[in-house]
């Protein structure tokens, strides 16, 4: 109560707040408002016809399915990588730790052409997979590989600080009460990590759904089979079919926002757990 009545002696609130709101509106809010307004003008039945078209529905299924599969791969390996990088010591550890962020720093187009070259039937990796009868490039599997690359840092970077925060005394206590190492991991460590793990998974998933640059090269882009939703938006744009592009974009945006809300909820859960 008392501190609320104290006058804030720092200047510049109006200036900085005004500028923040103005810039936010000009760069983000007004441009994004074009999407609901344009699709409103399209009318409900025309909107529905576009977004429920068989080719578009196939693209949602592919985008969501491949993003989900990639997020699952990252959840499993991300947990192992985060644990190993935080708890163990081995030569080259700092280097590997710094490299985790490569997918954030490497432009997606570079990732796209590189992964395509590696996994093409005559590529460094694709050659061997081809001998085994597995084709990666230009199939949904290739899309999953690209999305795994893009989402790799999320699970690792969300888990690392939480693992670092784990109090060793709790593990000590569990151990002195007779728990085996496996029981400690399963009953003590994993439940503690779970909210952050889920957050990392959701972040990787959300990022992968809208991803374009790294996927478009390796996908092959065949309608109904390997055509992701963002590419479909570009295809419509290139045919100057702005209305259809907008309608599909609205659906993609709604999916992303739903995930963002879920992530914020998870985050609140995580911080409550950490505070407790």
């Amino acid at each position: 109560m008392f501190s609320r009545q104290r006058r804030n002696v720092l200047p510049g609130f109006r200036l900085t707040m005004g500028y923040t709101i103005l810039y936010l509106c000009l760069i983000v809010i007004v441009p994004l408002l074009t999407l609901p307004v344009q699709s409103w003008e399209l009318g409900w039945s025309a909107f529905w016809r576009v977004v429920s078209d068989a080719r578009v529905v196939a693209s949602y299924r592919l985008s969501i399915g491949a993003a989900f599969a990639a997020a699952c791969v990252n959840a499993v390996f991300g947990l192992i990588v985060a644990w190993v990088l935080t708890r163990y010591r081995f030569p080259g550890q700092r280097l590997f730790d710094a490299l985790i962020d490569l997918p954030f720093a490497l432009p997606t187009a570079v990732a796209g052409i590189t992964l395509t070259t590696l996994y093409a039937p005559n590529g460094w990796i694709g050659r061997y997979l081809n001998d085994l009868g597995v084709q990666v490039a230009f199939t949904p599997l290739g899309i999953t590989v690209a999305l795994t690359f893009i989402g790799l840092p999320f699970v690792v970077r969300t888990l690392q600080p939480v693992i670092d925060d784990l109090d060793l005394e709790i593990e000590e206590a569990a151990s002195s009460l007779g728990a085996t190492r496996w029981q400690i991991l399963r009953r003590v460590v994993l439940p503690f990590l779970f909210p952050a793990w889920l957050t990392g998974f959701a972040l990787a998933f959300a990022r992968a759904i809208g991803e374009y640059g790294s996927v478009v090269f390796i996908a092959g882009n065949m309608p109904m089979r390997t055509e992701i939703t963002p590419l479909l938006i570009i295809t419509q744009l290139e045919q100057f079919n702005y209305a259809a592009a907008t309608a599909i974009a609205v659906v993609l945006l709604v999916i992303s926002f739903a995930l963002l809300l879920a992530i914020n909820g998870l985050q609140a859960w995580t911080s409550r757990r950490l505070a407790a």
């Binding site: 983000v28 390996f77 570079v110 590189t114 938006i233 570009i234 992303s256 914020n264």
Partner: protein
């Protein structure tokens, strides 16, 4: 995680009953190295191998063509406009949000994070809807002979949009953690607003600021999807370096494409090295899009 800030309960210090059996440890380390090797190191090595596959002179030849050089120039221009603008915004937003109390703060933070949740393709699309020929301002712009979409201003706008939150979301938690006692003391002692900011606030936030600028710049220079939508891909005119990589690749000029890509890969490596250095000063902050809100509640 970063250096000294991490607590020292590693395997080396922990008793045997507080870590996994040796074979499990080595198994997990092997899995980690295998996974990271396959997904990070092999691709990075492949970029440079493909770029240098036909020798050094072919490489330098490919990166010094006029089209590549003009693509580099446009990438530098786009980042050169986008990063300073987003830096000024980040500092302003940090000052308003971290030093003052007002209702709706969490809503504002979520809105700042919004560009992270938007697909790059959509980030391009919205500017086409605004400034394209059929867009809201399209007829007016055409009347006055101004081109934004399929031209440099559109590329810059799309770049600003996708790199929008980076500085703000790094700087807000840093300014929040700093509190405002020091600034208040400076004011009471007679410093004016600008002096307070330059002499008290800035020295405290400079590493956080640098960290945000690094991430912002990496995204601005590397953006592909959004820029691809608004560019029109006119060679020598509206082609950024990532777009140039795509064009060369689609023309089956693989070595030239990888040569151009290697410049961007070098940028990524430099970014990672600088980031590691800066992290030693700030401690690791969360770099994930969409996670700024929780640091404040």
């Amino acid at each position: 995680m970063a250096g000294s800030s991490s607590r020292n309960h590693r395997t080396s210090g922990a008793a045997a009953h507080l870590t996994e059996p040796r074979w499990v440890r080595w198994g997990l380390i092997a899995l980690t190295l295998g996974f990271l090797g396959l997904f990070l190191i092999v691709p990075l090595a492949a970029v440079f191998t493909e770029a240098l596959g036909r020798g050094w002179s072919a490489y330098t030849g490919a990166i010094s063509t006029p089209d590549t050089l003009s693509a580099v120039r446009l990438t530098l221009v786009a980042a050169g406009v986008a990063v300073p603008l987003n830096l000024v915004f980040g500092v302003a937003a940090g000052w308003a949000i971290a030093k003052f109390q007002f209702p709706g703060k969490n809503v504002l933070l979520t809105l700042i994070d919004l560009p992270f949740a938007v697909s790059p393709v959509i980030a391009g699309l919205i500017f086409v809807l605004l400034f394209g020929r059929q867009g809201w301002f399209g007829p007016w712009l055409a009347e006055h002979g101004i081109r934004i979409v399929f031209s440099v201003p559109g590329i810059i706008l799309a770049t600003i949009f996708v790199s929008f939150p980076f500085v703000a979301r790094e700087i807000i938690p840093v300014m929040q953690a700093m509190g405002r006692d020091e600034e208040e003391a400076a004011r009471v002692l007679g410093a004016n607003g600008l002096q307070t900011f330059l002499r008290v606030t800035l020295p405290n936030i400079k590493w956080g600021l640098l960290y945000g600028v690094l991430l912002c710049n990496a995204r601005a220079m590397g953006e592909f999807g959004a820029v691809s939508v608004v560019s029109g891909k006119i060679r020598g005119e509206t082609n950024t370096l990532p777009l140039h990589v795509e064009i060369l690749y689609n023309e089956y000029q693989f070595q030239a494409a990888f040569a151009a890509a290697s410049l961007l890969a070098l940028l990524a490596i430099v970014t990672l090295v600088l980031k590691t250095i800066v992290e030693r000063h700030v401690g690791r902050t969360t770099v994930q899009p969409g996670t700024a809100t929780d640091t404040l509640s």
